[in-house]
Amino acid sequence: MYAQMIKSEATQDDPEQLAAFQARIDAGEKIEPKDWMPEGYRKTLIRQIGQHAHSEIVGQLPEGNWITRAPTLERKAILLAKVQDEAGHGLYLYGAAETLGVSRDELTEMLLDGRMKYSSIFNYPTLNWADIGAVGWLVDGAAIMNQVPLQRTSYGPYSRAMIRICKEESFHQRQGYDAIRRMAEGSDAQKKMAQDALNRLWYPSLMMFGPSDKDSVHSAQSMAWKIKMNTNDELRQKFVDQTVPQAEYLGLTVPDPDLKWNEARGHYDFTDPDWTEFYEVLKGNGPCNTDRLAARNKAWDEGAWVRDGLLAHARKRTARKMAAE
């Protein structure tokens, strides 16, 4: 999931108004931008949708890393289309966040100066071509686990953004699986690439769901508001149950010696990711944090003259039009 550890804001609103709001949510109604909403609901959503949007934007970097080296024209086209979709997801999500009274530029500033986060997964590098398949398969796969239920989230614009996005994400996942399958069925070197990608990306993918529920603060309020639809552990289990048979089908080994099917639970037992590493990544100590943020800052700073130029031109044009009228 692209939004991790979203802290729910405490709310100090009129209890009667709050109860009426909660009743609407419980009845399955959608909250729209013009409706009354608790301040905590609004702030939590801004943080969550903003973090999701930032993840789409920063997520362009690890995949963009391979566009110029894609091995065939077809794979290059597929990857370009995917990265373009991700940027589009960023656009819809910033649009949804803007309905809550924050501008895209404000959100961008908060990403660039580190006040807002993006998903931990994008702080890991893409080191061989199979990583591109693995990202589609595992990362988009994990994102879907979280985003499919969010199609039913209580906030109308967020829900509608999720419905549009989910269609494309499942397409990405299928394409990613197809790309890594080709590698797993290929030469020894290609198999090695596929296994190497799975080895490196397995645990970071499990981390995408956030820390275990027992350590996850602030979940309850978000779940009552239907901003968060499932617990982190539920989603992680679902992801493991879905992904392990796919890895087996590919002939790849999940890098977890303790992974095994638990007949009694009807689920796989698996090893938790290293949460110390997870918290280090959140603190900025992942393998790519510094470079990712530097790349986004560079793009923004070096693009200032372009944004200023286009804005100045738009103003001149309006002025000329008004003078002519």
Binding site: I67, T72, L91
Partner: protein
């Protein structure tokens, strides 16, 4: 020169232009000045790579040596590439990237417009699809060139510098050779020199609106479309683009 040999060269020229320029544009991915530009640049690159598949696919068919479009893209060395030098010029900044795009799109959309009426049905069919995309690219790049040329003092200066730098690479588009003579005679493709008037008219209109000055020199670097001499940049581009195919030959990807 036989008709098929000329045809093969012509198709490489079309496909190499879109391949190399598509590669350059794709280098922007995730680094554009504003999100809408990230999307637009990825979209342009995607269209260009799609067109490459069609042109090089047909080239491979006409060459008839059992090669695929991918073989042509990933296994030829620099001397076998037939793209305009303009397409391989590095991005430098967003200004040069968009100016390069505008200078190319203008030529490309005129060229493709003519090719939709090609006597060769396969060429006409590819052009029919590609010309719609090129018209859209031109609309976008022309708007951006105008916006930045007639924007702030800095954006104006950067766009003028980009135009001045790229100008010597424009003339190559209109240099005719034996290949062109054969194809023009057969009604497959227009004589490149014949497109200059229309090109200059579009340039004059857009660049004056952009408050930019067209350099008065007609000096033109050449060697890209004939393959006689590329820039130093092409080798580096190919090193990156072709690396996987060359390091792991014969694999399915």
């Amino acid at each position: 020169m036989t008709f098929d040999a000329a045809m093969y060269q012509f198709l490489l020229r079309m496909g190499d232009n879109t391949l190399i320029l598509g590669h350059r544009v794709s280098e922007w991915c995730g680094h554009a000045p504003v999100l809408e530009e990230d999307i637009a640049l990825a979209n342009t690159a995607l269209d260009l790579i799609g067109q490459t598949q069609m042109w090089l696919g047909l080239a491979a068919e006409i060459e008839d040596k059992g090669q695929s479009a991918d073989d042509l893209a990933f296994l030829r060395d620099a001397w076998d590439f037939r793209n305009l030098l303009l397409c391989e010029i590095p991005n430098e900044d967003f200004g040069r990237t968009l100016m390069r795009q505008f200078l190319f799109d203008t030529w490309h959309s005129i060229q493709l417009g003519h090719l939709t009426k090609s006597s060769d049905e396969r060429v006409a069919a590819i052009a029919a699809k590609a010309s719609k995309e090129a018209a859209y690219h031109l609309e976008r790049s022309a708007d951006t060139v105008v916006g930045l040329g007639d924007g702030t003092e800095e954006s104006h200066n950067r766009m003028q510098a980009a135009l001045d730098y790229l100008w010597p690479y424009v003339g190559e588009m209109f240099q005719s050779d034996d290949v062109d003579v054969v194809l023009a005679k057969a009604g497959v493709a227009p004589d490149p020199a014949s497109l200059r008037e229309e090109y200059d008219a579009v340039l004059l209109r857009v660049l004056s609106e952009a408050t930019l000055t067209i350099p008065d020199s007609r000096f033109a670097h050449k060697g890209g479309r004939s393959g006689a001499m590329h820039t130093e940049h092409l080798g580096h581009l190919l090193t990156q683009m072709q690396w996987l195919q060359r390091a792991y030959p014969g694999c399915q990807w």
